[in-house]
């Protein structure tokens, strides 16, 4: 093994704990906290997936009586929609890529012994965990979980008597999200401070792996967005419980005045989407970073246009705050404002295209190794393009009149925000599993998992575009009796069958994950022959990441196939490579 450069390191702020509680439960170690986030997200994704399965069953067999669960009433269907969306967006897509992998690998990749504030890091996980418990508790209170959708539009969400589930269940939903915001803010604080202040010697910002850039910019987005969601949540709680009228206009329920007046439902939408659109990038940016990393590693080529990739991440982050109005074209908006939001939205296509072409440029002429992480990274690019291409349709107010609130919208955002991000999580799992657990995952099972997921995803979501264009509205629990939609029922059935098969495919992943944890073949320190710092340390890494040492960085993160180098990769802390002229 090459002689890597290490220098003196600040000692780990805390010693390695010995007891079970301090080591595995209330741990200060960013690696354990990362795993805690990961397993929380894993639990959440199976809850969310189960809810979607119930929805799919109800859509094609609305009269079916399910074992243990009984009938699914229309309001229950709306509850499923709400909780599926909320759990997936907050506790999976925000939690796993950033809280899970970011926590585990950001400090190691920049050569730090831990996060800047380990106690805060621990608190951020347990706050998020509490948020999840409160969210799940909403299922079990009188009236059940809320039915106002993950976007919580007022006045439905702002009045306790607006429907079943809008009582205590809706309060718990808001409180859970508020708790989640606080946890996410604590996490973002750590990510930003750690990135700015704890990089190893020689690890300049422009030598950071693109994963670190993605986690860093995602943390900034979270910092700016979650405070606004928290403010909206506080106002909503006041409207619901203190009789204020921030979001509730003069409304009647069953002919009775509610006592509210003058509030603006649009105000909620503005505040919510000011958070909500950056949230899309909070979910997808870390996956973009992971994808960039993996395409370079498994193509044995430097990433195409590193600087352009960094500027594209920054550009996407910046523009992400300028486009929230495109969710509200149909809510009542001046056409001039809509035009501005439309232009800004389509402008995001520019940095997104830069990233996509750079990914393709990285693949071009590469000596590609089609290992399972690479398959999922390529799958990510495919889903990103497919899901992204329908964005400019929805970004145009005129087309949005037709497509808004149809199945076209779930098709778009599930592909680009949901499944693409999930593919990023899978890619990262297969890639970093050896470092995290010291064992390799089963490659055959991983490949089966990939093809089930990749084909299954397209089978589920591509037909939804056609449903949407044909005018099938989303959110309705029962459309089987609607005459003009009758011919679309076979397509709905196809989607449900595809969902069954795709979900079954996820069991392969689950079995592989836990089986490999205990029985997988032992992993070497650098099984993928990668260059970044996590592969310079032991597998799994010691408590302080580098065993009392800290790397000195001389090279960029993607030095593959360097002419004149003894191997086809040069690690970041190898002696500096001189360009061959």
């Amino acid at each position: 093994m090459a002689t890597h450069e290490f220098a003196a390191q600040e000692s780990h702020a805390h010693e390695a704990p010995q007891g079970f509680i301090r080591k595995w439960v209330f741990s200060l170690d960013h690696k354990v906290i990362g795993l805690q986030y990961y397993f929380l997200a894993l639990a959440a994704v199976f809850v969310g997936m189960f809810l979607s399965l119930l929805m799919r069953i109800h859509l094609i067999w609305p009269a079916a009586t399910l074992p243990l669960l009984g009938d699914i009433k229309p309001e229950t269907y709306l509850t499923l929609v709400t909780m599926h969306g909320t759990i997936m967006v907050f506790f999976v897509l925000t939690t796993a890529p950033q809280g899970g992998f970011g926590n585990y690998f950001l400090p190691i990749q920049i050569g730090a012994p831990d996060m800047a504030f380990p106690v805060l890091n621990m608190l951020s996980f347990w706050t998020t965990f509490l948020g999840f418990v409160v969210m799940i508790a909403a299922f079990f209170v009188a009236g059940g979980a809320p039915l106002h959708g993950w976007t919580g539009y007022a006045p439905l969400s702002a009045i306790q008597s607006a429907g079943p589930g809008e009582g205590l269940g809706a309060d718990l939903w808001i409180i859970s999200i508020a708790i989640f915001c606080i946890g996410a803010l604590m996490g973002a604080l750590n990510f930003i401070t750690t990135t700015l202040d704890m990089r190893a010697k020689g690890m300049t910002m422009m030598r950071m792996p693109l994963t670190c850039w993605a986690w860093f910019v995602t943390a900034i987005l979270g910092l700016l967005a979650f405070g606004v969601l928290l403010s909206a949540g506080i106002l909503l709680l006041m409207d619901r419980n203190l009789g204020t009228s921030f979001f509730v206009p003069l409304v009647t329920i069953n002919g009775q005045l509610t006592g509210h007046k003058g509030g603006s439902p649009l105000l909620w939408q503005h505040l919510f989407w000011f958070f909500g659109h950056p949230e899309v990038y909070i979910a997808i940016l870390p996956a973009m970073g992971m994808c960039s990393q993996l395409l370079s590693v498994f193509s044995r080529k430097p990433i195409f246009g590193y600087k352009a990739m960094v500027y594209a991440i920054l550009g996407i982050g910046f523009l992400g705050f300028m486009v929230w109005g495109h969710h509200m074209f149909m809510s009542g908006m001046s056409p001039y404002t809509a035009f501005a939001f439309s232009i800004m939205t389509m402008a995001i296509g520019v940095p997104s295209a830069i990233k996509t072409f750079n990914w393709l440029g990285t693949l071009m002429h590469g000596r590609i190794r089609f290992s399972s992480p690479m398959l999922f990274a390529i799958g990510f690019v495919s889903l990103f393009v497919t899901g992204g291409i329908s964005g400019p349709f929805l970004a145009q107010p005129v087309l949005d009149i037709q497509l808004h609130d149809t199945y076209f919208v779930p098709a778009h955002f599930h592909l680009i925000m949901g499944v693409a991000s999930i593919f990023g999580i899978f890619a990262a799992t297969y890639y970093w599993f050896p470092k995290m657990f010291g064992r390799m995952m089963n490659e055959s099972m991983a490949r089966w998992h990939f093809w089930f997921s990749f084909i299954g995803t397209y089978a589920i979501f591509m037909p939804m575009h056609y449903l949407g264009m044909a005018g099938m509205p989303r959110r309705y629990s029962q459309l089987t009796e609607v005459a003009y939609l009758h011919e679309l029922i076979p397509l709905q059935k196809f989607i449900t069958y595809a969902a069954f098969i795709t979900i079954a495919g996820q069991l392969i992943f689950l079995i592989n994950l836990f089986w490999s944890m205990f029985k997988g073949p032992k992993a070497s320190d650098n099984p993928w022959e990668a260059t970044t710092l996590e592969w310079t340390t032991a597998t799994p890494p010691p408590h302080d990441n580098f065993g009392g040492k800290t790397p000195v960085v001389y090279n960029g993160p993607y030095e593959y196939s360097v002419p004149g180098a003894p191997r086809d990769f040069v690690m970041q802390n190898d002696p500096e490579i001189k360009p061959a002229h």
């Binding site: 093994m1 090459a2 002689t3 890597h4 450069e5 220098a7 390191q9 600040e10 390695a16 170690d29 690696k31 795993l35 800047a116 504030f117 803010l185 973002a188 604080l189 930003i192 401070t193 700015l196 202040d197 704890m198 910092l223 700016l224 967005a225 405070g227 606004v228 928290l230 403010s231 909206a232 506080i234 106002l235 203190l242 009789g243 204020t244 009228s245 921030f246 206009p249 005045l257 007046k261 003058g262 603006s264 105000l267 503005h270 505040l271 657990f437 010291g438 205990f518 320190d525 310079t536 032991a538 597998t539 799994p540 890494p541 010691p542 302080d544 065993g547 009392g548 040492k549 790397p551």
Partner: protein
């Protein structure tokens, strides 16, 4: 616990697989590094607080301009009744500004102690006895006075008929003052921790960092309060 052993996510520190370099474990980060990191952390932490109030402010401006339907006349009317703010808020403002001044003096005092502590380590240097004014305690007490003053102002508002849901403007008065008060309580708690750390004989460097960060937070809270007061008074 064997299954946990096989699921270890950490190697031993002396693991031979960690390649190259020399074992150069050193002391904890120095004072300057810790202070810089804490200040950076605070700066980052203040961003969402700022966003929270920016969001409330935008809601304030939007809600103020909205008409509502009067069901009796079926016409659009304004329901924004400006609240006359209690004069006590001006006194509270003075208390907070004074506390901010004291906080700054406390910050400089403990910073001086850090310098003195490092100088004392040099042979032949003596600090001598000096009387220290308890700026930190005084700030703490003024912070509590401010919070009590805000509570009293709330009671005065309620006594004059303005409750949380009476009119949108009163909703915002309670919202903004209440959210600010909760944030200031965080500062009061930090002061308590700093004082408690002194009782526990924690190092002056650690206490200095707590006080330094709390001081910047406190100044931010004072500036934020002045902004809130201006918003409520002049933007009605």
């Amino acid at each position: 616990m064997t299954f946990m052993a096989s699921l270890s996510t950490t190697a031993t520190v002396a693991d031979a697989r960690i390649s190259g370099g020399e074992d150069t474990r050193m002391a904890a980060p120095d004072y300057g590094t810790r202070l810089r990191r804490a200040r950076l952390g605070l700066l980052v932490a203040l961003t969402p607080v700022l966003m929270l109030f920016v969001s409330f402010s935008s809601a304030y401006v939007v809600r103020q301009g909205l008409p509502t339907l009067d069901p009796r006349t079926n016409t659009l009317v304004r329901d924004w009744i400006p609240v006359t703010l209690p004069k006590l808020l001006l006194i509270n403002t003075g208390v907070l500004i004074l506390s901010s001044l004291f906080m700054e003096l406390a910050r400089r005092q403990i910073k001086g102690q850090v310098v003195l502590a490092s100088a004392k380590a040099a042979p032949g240097v003596s600090s001598g006895d000096q009387i220290r004014i308890p700026w930190l305690l005084m700030t703490f007490l003024l912070g509590l006075t401010f919070l009590f003053g805000q509570w009293t102002a709330w009671r005065q508002l309620a006594a004059s008929g303005f409750y949380v849901a009476t009119t949108p403007s009163s909703s915002f008065v309670y919202l903004l003052t209440g959210t600010h008060a909760i944030h200031l309580m965080g500062g009061v708690l930090a002061l308590f921790v700093a004082g408690f750390a002194a009782l526990l004989r924690r190092s002056v460097a650690t206490r200095s960092i707590v006080v330094d960060v709390t001081a910047w937070y406190w100044h931010f809270m004072a500036a934020l309060w002045i902004y809130i007061l201006c918003l409520l008074e002049f933007a009605s």
